[in-house]
Point group: C2
Chain length 438, copies 2
């Protein structure tokens, strides 16, 4: 009776869903008993709700659209092709249509796009008893009755009471006397990332959204925010990996889209990386006289790239979580100079040991093995230090210039560091090996 | 009166907190008015609560510890140095101490470690009126009264009612007749990542945790899960960047720790990357006869690394979100063969165009420019295809072998692809340039 996964047709369908074709999805969905179909439909992602909906006859479309709360309905409308939107809007009842239209005017990623316009409201001059009876009337139409907002006649927010407070207060007390007036509100145009931080900061389950005139227009609940947190993390991860945010599941995004999202960045990085060929052609003579130098090129530039990836990833995430702010750049720089030196010394020592070991075993590097070993070791220190510094500072530079710091992808940093790493390596080589191999 | 950030001493302190020394933090905290200090203390991360607590006199430690719910108290105890834990435990009252000890026995990352053992409970044979009165008694001591669990005399979970349902039902109905018996429960040892997926799947604000015997032991609420989602995303991002999960904010983690978390992976990658030097030494003669080949080494291996980073990042995130499952590896492989070929052709064409252009302008590559250009172009197709395939399959291989797929960091994939990329490049070169330059 109590298992983790309740064994119902809906749950079985949910498990198999990703692997099914649209046609099979529709057929299986129609076979669900009505009460299970309800829950099932609500548990789908908006994108999938839309696809399913558009495959159903118009009468059923109306039925399912009306199951959705206005904020979820908006997501569905936004996923639909432009030419279908007006027709779908017509399927709502008058009130909902007005609400959905108002929400559609908002960006998907701001507070206005996340909020639900249906919230529990009472007036400040009600008694606790009246308020509870009034809430009983609203209970079926609002998302939550657990936070109750106190609005004056102009819809301006005067305060908030939790249902729990009402429930524990004496029946004849006035709402005005028990409400909390010190309310944290969200402006309707606030970005969802900042909204998520407010929830974290104040440890609340819901926040009211107000327009510029101070009128309360909706409520954002914790579950809206969890989706937002997940979405933002996905976008950041994809950007760090050097892909434009997909904005759709990997397996369902159209192949053309998948290619487009990746080709742009990859081609840009490739153009940047071409500078390595230019840089290396400057050292063509050095390579011709000491081919051994070429052998260590991949090792050295990739070490710079890897330390740069580490630094940039740590800093991007710390900025996203609000742990590091723009003005902390100096503290980050100091840490990274230290970390870069430390890591460079570690890799430099391993590199030195490796060359000396190979030399001892096979005489691989000839009589000048010591100078070669030192060239590689010094270059590693320089390149890893530079990688850590460049990787950690790039997100600050991007944020300062108005871009998303997450665009400082690991591949971008690696590319930057590759070109400069070559210059560091061959410069050190020309100093250490001058008059000997060069 | 209603702004986003309420202008209080607590909020000002919250803003400045990260930049303050521990000494200043304690002084400023003590200056807060009592009711603001309460909220402030609760809004801190467990790590910071612990540091603050340990800097206060014992009497105040008791006071602040008792402000915490048992699940939050556990986090604080876990952050404290081992030798302080028993002393801190002694500061709780008898009941809480027992609860905290029970929770401490759980891993931080499983359901038992996230749950709050205080939840609203009623018996199935109560009437709705009795249940509501009984809840009024519990309202101050439980985390939420909005989900009410129906337990029999053996503490076994029989069903659940939302407060809203109770509130709308007739007073003389029996709880037994209105409760939902089809309850999704969380086993106490379930990992937090799976718990987070259950919340997403069933769209609920709270889930009951049961032990192996079916006894209900606690409740997990949505806000616990939001923290878990954020934490998991941070760990994944850091692993993708090639760093062990820091488990502490970037600016506050001890420098030694920061170095340790990065040095391990960086050194391992370096050892792997050493194979590039070995691989290249096999082609030393080819490089000596055609130095021009060396010029394109960074360009070619980095293209493989970048396409591999893209593929691995996309697949890791899709697995973490549950969009892609182990058995989908074949569908992913097919997509990546397509994407790798497409992207390889794009980069190959750019590379070909670049060499032909330079040749037309400066005659850079001598009489055999066409063969060189073709070598580079074919190698790019091969390396990018291989990068996409290797990058996308590695997370599956790791998961299959029982590791975290996120360990397939972008740098690890780049390193793998670097070595094989060199082999691909020089093999193609030896075919295309045989008898001409080689």
């Amino acid at each position: 009776m109590f298992e983790t996964t309740v064994d119902s047709a809906a749950v079985r369908l949910w498990e198999e869903w990703p692997a099914l074709s649209t046609k099979k999805r529709v057929r299986r969905f129609k076979q669900l008993p009505r009460h299970e179909a309800d829950d099932f439909f609500l548990s789908l992602e908006p994108r999938e709700q839309t696809t399913l909906l558009l495959s159903l006859p118009q009468g059923e479309q109306r039925l399912w659209l009306r199951v959705l709360a206005p904020d979820d309905a908006v997501d569905v409308i936004q996923e639909a092709p432009t030419e279908e939107r007006d027709r779908l809007l017509e399927l709502f009842d008058e009130t909902t249509r007005r609400e959905v239209r108002a929400l559609l005017a908002h960006s998907e990623d701001d507070a206005g796009g996340l909020m639900n316009p249906r919230f529990a409201r009472i007036r400040p001059d009600m008694t606790v008893g009246e308020a509870i009876r009034y809430l009983r009337l609203q209970a079926t139409s609002v998302e939550t009755i657990y936070y109750v907002y106190v609005l004056d006649n102009d819809q301006k927010l005067q305060g908030v009471v939790s249902f729990r407070q009402l429930f524990q207060a004496a029946e004849d007390k006035l709402v005005h006397d028990i409400m909390v007036t010190d309310v944290v509100t969200v402006p309707e145009h606030m970005d969802q990332e900042l909204v998520a931080r407010l929830f974290q900061k104040y440890n609340v389950l819901a926040l009211p959204v107000v327009d510029e005139g101070g009128k309360m227009v909706g409520i954002i609940t914790f579950d809206d925010i969890a989706d937002a947190i997940r979405e933002e993390a996905t976008e950041d991860i994809q950007k760090i990996g050097g892909v434009e945010a997909l904005e759709a599941p990997y397996l369902t995004i159209a192949f053309r889209q998948l290619l487009k999202k990746r080709a742009g960045w990859l081609a840009a990085l490739f153009l940047g990386e071409m500078l390595t060929a230019t840089a290396m052609s400057h050292y063509q003579n050095e390579i011709a006289s000491a081919v051994v130098l070429a052998l260590f090129v991949p090792l050295i530039i990739s070490s710079g790239g890897n330390s740069g990836s580490q630094a940039t990833t740590l800093v991007i995430r710390a900025i996203a979580l609000g742990e590091v702010r723009l003005r902390d750049w100096w503290r980050v720089l100091r840490r990274e100079v230290g970390a870069g030196l430390g890591l460079g010394l570690i890799l430099g020592s391993i590199g030195l040991a490796r060359i000396l070991l190979w030399q001892a075993i096979g005489g691989t590097y000839g009589v000048h093995f010591m100078r070669i070993a030192l060239t590689v070791a010094f270059s590693l220190v320089g390149v890893v230090l530079w990688g850590s510094v460049a990787g950690s500072m790039l997100p600050f530079v991007l944020r300062r210039a108005g871009f998303d710091p997450a665009s400082a992808s690991a591949p971008l940093v690696a590319t930057l560091v590759d070109v400069t790493g070559l210059v560091i390596y061959f410069t050190i080589a020309s100093i250490v090996l001058r008059g000997v191999l060069l």
